[in-house]
Amino acid sequence: MPPVDPNKPRYLCCNGDESEPGTFKDRQLMEYNPHLVFEGILLAAYAMSITTSYLYIRGEYRDWIIHMERELAKLYEKGYVGKNIMGTDFSTEIVIHKGAGAYICGEESSLMESVEGKRGYPRIKPPFPAQKGLWGCPTTINNVETLACVPVILRKGAEWYASIGAVKHPGPVLYGISGHVNKPGVSEYPTGMLITDLIYEVAGGIRNGKKLKAVVPGGSSTPVLRADQIEGVTMDAESLREAGSMMGTAGMLVLDEDTDMVSFLRRITHFYAHESCGQCTPCREGTGWLENIVTRIERGEGRLRDLDLLVDLCTQMEGRTICALADAAAWPVRYTIHRFREEFEARCKPDIFATGEIGRPQAVPAA
């Protein structure tokens, strides 16, 4: 990284635009431990000589925005934030910024655009936020959960923190478990927990004594794992990569044996089609197309060739856009089809004509 200009102001953004389906950990932090978040922001601001920090909270979290604002007012009242904090010469401000309900504003650069009052369009990188972030100034951006860890690390030391959980991916994680489980909710555990432990011990097992069908380990964009793929898999980057998925936000979706995977995928594709910002062509057009096809399959009108087309479209989208939303939209489609292909095939009608490299619909003669 090239050195940053020392004469420019610096900013800190705390990303509380928690919008990934299946993720609700930041909400818990803001509701039950808001001062831990503020403390983390203040410590980070002190360490980096930052005078203004922005806490960006998604617009749908209205209750938590009000709650955080009330708590922040207390901090100002006590003199923990603002001018000459606790009588020192360090001054810093915290600004709570309400989002307007766009998933894309959880992406770091579009979050900054949003704070600047513009349309939430992700920026091209480089330059990265560390060089040119808010208003073209060096900016650090972290998640609520990350900054909430800062006070604990400072109190107990980095070595203690690194000793928690999996060796290569240490630390505590807020697991948000939802779906067909008996006890959905957020629980804090170290990394490296067995997925089966999380489902059967922490979340109290599958609802109504059903069998497990699939698990999405970290929010809707991470690839889905079949029940037979999770044996011995632990919640850390390495183990999940081997199993063919990702840690993501650790917002775990548990699906029981009655789940209709086509319907499940249809809902996910609808989400990404709705939330694509519309800036890059592959994502803008691709997400809508994916939704169209999956919806058609769900209605029972799909063709077998649609499955190959879906995978093809994923290839056309992945890695060709400014931000990762296109990848996030493409992965669930690619892996759900890959891992539950029979289920999809059972819903599709056979092809009425063969498809080549680029399937050109042939005119069907009128009857």
Partner: protein, 576 residues
């Protein structure tokens, strides 16, 4: 010198150019939509993807690592990069669609995406024929579409402002237009609304797109989403001939292309000239086209019993010559014109000189406060600077009026202007003395008192030179045929016509649209001949050569030097 390898070919470069611009400058085509050299780079169309690699640098020696053959090891980026936003670095290796199957495929894939919700109404779209989306779809696009769903529907026929019409379905969201209004014209009158596949550009609520430069967005739109309210559905692009020239609505002389069909100017669009107008053209220049078609006179007229009566050119010249012979040169007033070319004004000064008259003057047409310091000027004439360089001064109204009312002026010779209309004289004041008038329009107010009225060719029908307010001398080219002159033989018309589409449609068939007028550089020698002052020129090119060689204010302004972009004349002190 740092080097970059593109498709195996090594190029040297200076500074940190962007890859796409560098390729375009070196004749390597990379398909793209959202990139425009004058605007910021959003990299949002994702069409210009290329495969980019950089040499692996040894951390210790800071030099590129070499393989066993001594060639630097190149590490390619894991993803394809948008060439518009990549800064070229030393040793960079680039694979475009010519050498990389993946890049070729990415262009095809992206075009497939762009076209799925595009209405594909090319047969009725004004942009068809010069549409970057259409052209690049043919070159790089897929052979068909796999999209079998209802396209997304968006508003059509939305009038954004007085001059621009939007068809949101055709839009590919390149954001060129919103960037134009925020970065170039600074009016911020356009924005993108909606999200995802349902987004399209629009004016914010309550805002009318009345930017004085609004029509530039029509030029830069890479599809047919933005069309001109005036020009839409008027002509197909391959039916018109496109002639590079300049506009004459103000003293900037912005470069433009005249679109002519059936011998009528139907549209005016911007032409790139970094020294004058870059890529842009104000709306008033574009909307000036009807003046070349409407109210044009048909042939010369003479005043006969208080009525303008049509006559033959030869008779009109005889009449003008006899009028000039009947008055002493000292009692003539020659009015030059800031609307006319340097060549025409030069011949007028020569005629005045040979008759012993005072040097001509010109009528300034200034609208104080109309200018914006950019492409719109207070001066509404294209050649005031050229007149001054020829020694033609702005008319001193008080002096001239005093002379006229005092009976010291016995004849007025007007070159391509309207002294009555501009308020210099009243018609009554001129009623008793002979007036010879070169005029453009039948609405010219001086016409009713003109003893000899000679229709003059306008900028779109003649060859000549204009000098803009910054001293930039530029050539105009004829794009419209006038009656009696075969365009292919005279006035370089055949040569000047730059038909970008190579289609044979514009044949100037329609005689009724030809104006019976003649360029002033043709009229003036004809009259001078009859007065015994031979002006032997083969054409404006030779006249300009003479001006450039005899008048230091025009040094270097030959037709060859001016070419398509003009030459900057040296600053001259204000003529005393």
């Amino acid at each position: 010198m740092p080097t970059v390898t593109i498709d195996g070919q090594v190029y040297t470069f200076e500074g940190t150019p962007k890859l796409l611009q560098f390729c375009l400058d070196h004749g390597i085509e990379i398909s793209h939509f959202c990139y425009h050299p004058a605007l910021s780079i959003p990299a949002n169309c994702r069409q210009c993807l290329v495969d980019v690699g950089t040499p692996v640098i040894d951390r210790e020696t800071k030099k590129p690592k070499l393989d066993e053959n001594g060639n630097p090891i190149i590490q390619f980026f894991p993803k394809l990069m948008t060439s518009c936003s990549v800064d070229i670095t030393d040793g960079m290796v680039v694979r475009t669609d010519r050498t990389s199957e993946l890049v070729d495929r990415s262009h095809r894939d992206n075009l497939e995406f762009l076209l799925i919700n595009h209405p594909l109404d090319c047969p009725i779209c004004d942009q068809a024929g010069h549409c970057p989306l259409q052209i690049q779809s043919f070159k790089y696009g897929p052979s068909g579409s796999r999209f079998e769903f209802r396209k997304v529907h968006k508003p059509k026929r939305v009038q954004l402002g007085p001059n621009v019409m939007l068809d949101a379905e055709r839009c590919i969201n390149c954001t060129r237009r919103t960037r134009f209004t925020s970065e170039i014209s600074k009016s911020n009158q356009l924005t993108i609304i909606g999200r995802g596949v349902r987004n399209y550009p629009l004016t914010p609520p309550g805002v009318v797109f009345d930017d004085p430069y609004s029509m530039n967005v029509i030029d830069i739109c890479p599809v047919g989403a933005l069309t001109s309210v005036d020009f839409r559905f008027q002509a197909r692009v391959w039916e018109v001939s496109q002639t590079p020239s300049i506009t004459v609505t103000n003293a900037k002389g912005s470069n433009c292309v005249y679109w002519v069909r059936d011998n009528r100017v139907v549209n005016i669009v911007a032409r790139q000239n970094p020294a004058v107008n870059e890529y842009w053209l104000p709306d008033e220049d574009r909307l000036a086209y009807p003046m070349f078609n409407d109210n044009r006179p048909q042939g010369p007229t003479v005043l006969d019993g208080g009525q303008q009566t049509g006559t033959k050119w030869e008779d009109a010249f005889d009449r003008a010559a006899s009028l000039l012979k009947s008055v002493d040169g000292k009692q003539m007033l020659f009015i030059g014109s800031a609307y006319a070319t340097v060549e025409d004004n030069y011949l007028l000064t020569r005629l005045a000189e040979s008759l012993g008259a005072d040097a001509p003057v010109y009528i300034p047409h200034l609208v104080p406060g109309a200018g914006d310091g950019w492409l719109i000027t207070d001066d509404k004439t294209p050649n005031a600077n050229g007149c001054q360089r020829l020694g033609i001064k702005p008319v001193d109204e008080a002096v001239v009026r005093a002379k006229l009312t005092g009976g010291q002026i016995k004849l007025v010779y007007v070159l391509e202007d309207d002294p009555v209309g501009s308020g210099l004289f009243t018609a009554d004041e001129l009623a008793d003395i002979p007036v010879i008038l070169h005029h453009y329009h039948t609405t010219n107010k001086t016409l009713e008192v003109a003893d000899v009225a000679l229709p003059a060719a306008m900028v779109v029908e003649t060859v000549g030179t204009y000098v803009n307010e910054d001293g930039h001398a530029q050539r105009v080219r004829p794009c419209k045929e006038i009656s009696g002159i075969n365009r292919t033989l005279v006035m370089e018309m055949g040569k000047s016509r730059q038909d970008r589409h190579g289609t044979p449609f514009d044949r100037w068939y329609n005689e009724s649209h030809k104006v019976n007028c003649r360029p002033s550089w043709d009229i003036l020698p004809a009259i001078a001949d009859r007065l015994g002052h031979k002006m032997a020129y083969t054409g404006p090119k030779q006249i300009m050569q003479e001006v450039a060689s005899t008048n230091s204010a025009f040094e270097g302004a030959t037709y060859e030097a001016m070419g398509l972009l003009g030459v900057r004349l040296t600053e001259v002190a204000e003529p005393a």
